[in-house]
């Protein structure tokens, strides 16, 4: 079927292949390619500050994508995602410094190791669901964090672990301007990979497990396999995100991987839209920009009456946490389908303008 610039008004698809295309219109595909190309020029124009924010969005979005596969596509839940993110970071740091594995290989290797640990913690998931799983992953979060603080050979204990900078073909990529490309490549790869995963037999099996696991099992889907698999995948992406974080910061310390970070990942996925690949990116951008926006607002208000009444300068950290929690609650109550749904509504509105109703 040839690519169309507009969708027909109705469902005229006749093949499964046409039903599972990633970009239903040519315009959508060109827009995605153009966005990536534009991003390639970002380091030339944007300031250091904005680049660091973009890099942050990049590695967090990769990890959040893993969580979305688990929560949004498979309908499992994890409150321990930050621990896997941390495991990826520490593993890659350990491989690159202690075992002197080149960073180019240590990132995927760290992701594989994280995925294996994820599979181990996913084993209870075979028997558990919903709430029990939430509690099991909560326990995993505490156990892994305890392990990080205990295993000094691995994490350095109280001293932060050192991670080597990213090196490829003898070039060292460090600093925001160069590292940006590393994150961009990984980001595009992960998103293309995930979008395609959802078109395969395995991806559809995951969705079937989410929608009705008993029916899925009766139709011959191996529940054990797909539940553990989704845990492994989630941990794999968390591992990549964590490893990218490690080589960006070049030091990894224990503090960044607490349950608060896990909640932040959950928030990204909820706000972006459960079960939406593009939504994950939107949600991550939202959650990264929210604290920054609060910083700007408090800077604007500095010295004003509101600033004095609320003591913004001292309490900005708490206000940020409140904002994160409020955003989760409000989105779940009023927009459970996330930003991606809102975005579709806006697009539909303008497509039909001025005859929208």
């Amino acid at each position: 079927m040839p690519m169309q610039s507009h969708l027909p008004a109705g469902d005229f698809r006749t093949t499964y292949a046409a039903d599972t295309v990633i970009f239903p219109t040519a315009a959508g595909r060109y827009a995605a390619v153009a966005a990536v190309v534009l991003l390639c020029f970002a380091p030339l124009v944007l300031s250091q500050y904005w680049l660091s924010i973009l890099i942050q969005i990049g590695y967090l979005a990769i990890a959040a994508l893993g969580l979305n596969i688990l929560v949004g596509f498979t309908g499992q839940i994890s409150i321990g995602h930050a621990a896997f993110f941390g495991l990826g970071a520490f593993t890659s740091a350990y491989l690159s410094t202690k075992l002197s594995v080149p960073v180019f290989f240590s990132i995927p290797l760290a992701a594989v190791i994280t995925a294996i640990v994820g599979l181990v913690f996913g084993l209870p998931a075979v028997r558990l669901k919903g709430l029990y799983l939430a509690i099991a992953t909560l326990a995993a979060q505490y156990i892994l964090l305890d392990f990080f603080s205990r295993a000094e050979w691995f994490t350095g204990g109280t001293v932060p672990a050192i991670a080597e900078p990213f090196r490829i073909f003898g070039f060292t990529l460090r600093g925001d301007r160069q590292y940006f490309y590393v994150v961009l490549v990984y980001l595009v790869l992960s998103f293309v990979l995930t979008a395609n995963l959802m078109r395969t037999r395995d991806g559809r099996a995951l969705v079937a497990v989410r929608d009705h696991y008993l029916s899925a099992e009766i139709m011959g889907i191996n529940l054990t396999k797909y539940r553990t698999l989704s845990f492994g995948l989630a941990a794999f992406y968390a591992g990549i995100g964590g490893a990218l974080y490690a080589h960006y910061q070049e030091v990894v310390s224990n503090e960044g991987f607490t349950i608060d970070r896990s909640i932040l990942f959950l928030a990204m996925v909820i706000i972006g839209g459960l079960g939406s690949v593009m939504g994950t990116l939107m949600g991550t951008a939202f959650m990264v920009l929210l604290p920054e926006a609060m910083e700007w607002i408090s800077a604007l208000l500095r010295g004003g009456p509101i600033d004095q009444a609320l003591a913004l300068r001292n309490n900005i950290a708490f206000l940020r946490e409140i904002a994160i929690g409020m955003v989760i609650v409000l989105f779940l109550m009023f927009e459970p389908d996330g930003l991606v749904h809102r975005w579709r509504r806006i697009k539909a509105y303008w497509k039909l303008y001025p005859f929208s109703y």
Binding site: A139, Y142, L214, I263, I328, V329, L332
Partner: protein, 297 residues
């Protein structure tokens, strides 16, 4: 082997365990009556304790005035929370509700830090005498009070469920919401009441802990400790929650004893319940007293 230390730790574990039991009980109450898993249970303790502390220090109220005001506040708080936030979520998937309570927990915790600061604040002393002599043992009055309050709350809960009209309504709702509603049980009232009772009971536990240890953000850790307790006891069993709480309290202290005497790994006190939690989930996810649910299409 240091027997005296062990006895001391076991006694501590029992006292703390009964408190865990009380908090677990109020967690199970919400779960049974409204099918909501409340990840913000620990924050109820925190809010109750801070509010009581605020009444007692800021307004210099005596304890027997400040405490009832706290309880009234918690009743209103529980009802408001149920009506404004949880009621719109009825019928939503369980994962959404879990994440909603996680969001609430984040908000409450940060709000408490914002309002009251991050420092540990000592509670004004409530008892004139610090220790009492029981059978030759010097027991701190606050521990004794903690134990008595916990036992009284457990007895009160048992009475409520078995002998009061609303307790019966709540059990009926827990058994089957639709049937209960069609028989004239006011399910909305029952839901609001479950949250109110749970908030009050948690707040009492919070005040008790605060009297012993002072008030700080660390109080909400009790909300996390609840999970090993309820999983051990069975999620839908109130008696199981109490037993589970006591077991977790004892277990923590035994782990601490083994750690300090033999292993020297450090921090085993904190982490041991979570290992037990994982093991229980693997072998018997419905717990010691919970009902095993069988699903049909």
């Amino acid at each position: 082997m240091n027997t005296q230390l062990l006895v001391q730790l076991l006694a501590n574990g029992f006292v703390v365990g009964t408190l865990y039991g009380v908090v677990a009980m109020s967690f199970v109450l919400i779960y049974k009556a409204t099918q909501v898993v409340n990840f913000a249970q620990g924050e109820f303790l925190l809010i109750g304790a801070w509010f009581c502390w605020w009444m007692l220090t800021k307004y210099q109220l005596p304890f027997y005035v400040g405490m009832p005001i706290t309880l009234v506040f918690m009743v209103l708080f529980g009802i408001a929370l149920q009506i404004c936030v949880l009621r719109p979520m009825v019928g939503e998937p369980i994962i959404s509700v879990i994440m909603l309570t996680i969001g609430l927990a984040t908000v409450f915790q940060a709000a408490m830090k914002w309002i009251f600061g991050t420092n540990l604040q000592p509670f004004p002393p409530i008892f004139a005498t610090q220790t009492v002599n029981i059978l030759g043992l010097q027991v701190q009055t606050v521990y004794l009070m903690s134990l008595i309050v916990s036992l009284v709350m457990m007895a009160g809960m048992a009475w409520f469920f078995h002998s009061s009209k609303y307790g019966l309504a709540m059990r009926a709702t827990a058994f089957n919401q639709q049937v209960a509603q069609s028989l004239g049980v006011p399910v909305k009232t029952v839901f609001a009441m479950a949250w109110a009772i749970s908030a009050v009971v948690s707040a009492v536990a919070g005040v008790v802990v605060a009297v012993v240890n002072g008030v700080s953000a660390g109080l909400s850790a009790y909300g996390i400790k609840v999970f090993p307790a309820v999983i051990l006891g069975g999620l839908d069993s109130i008696a199981g929650a109490v037993v589970g709480g006591i077991i977790v309290g004892l277990l923590e202290n035994v782990a601490h004893f083994v750690d300090s005497e033999y292993l020297h790994w450090g921090n085993l006190y904190e982490i041991a319940p979570f290992y037990v939690l994982i093991v229980i989930l693997m072998i018997r996810p419905y717990g010691l007293f919970g009902t095993k649910d069988i699903e049909r299409i």
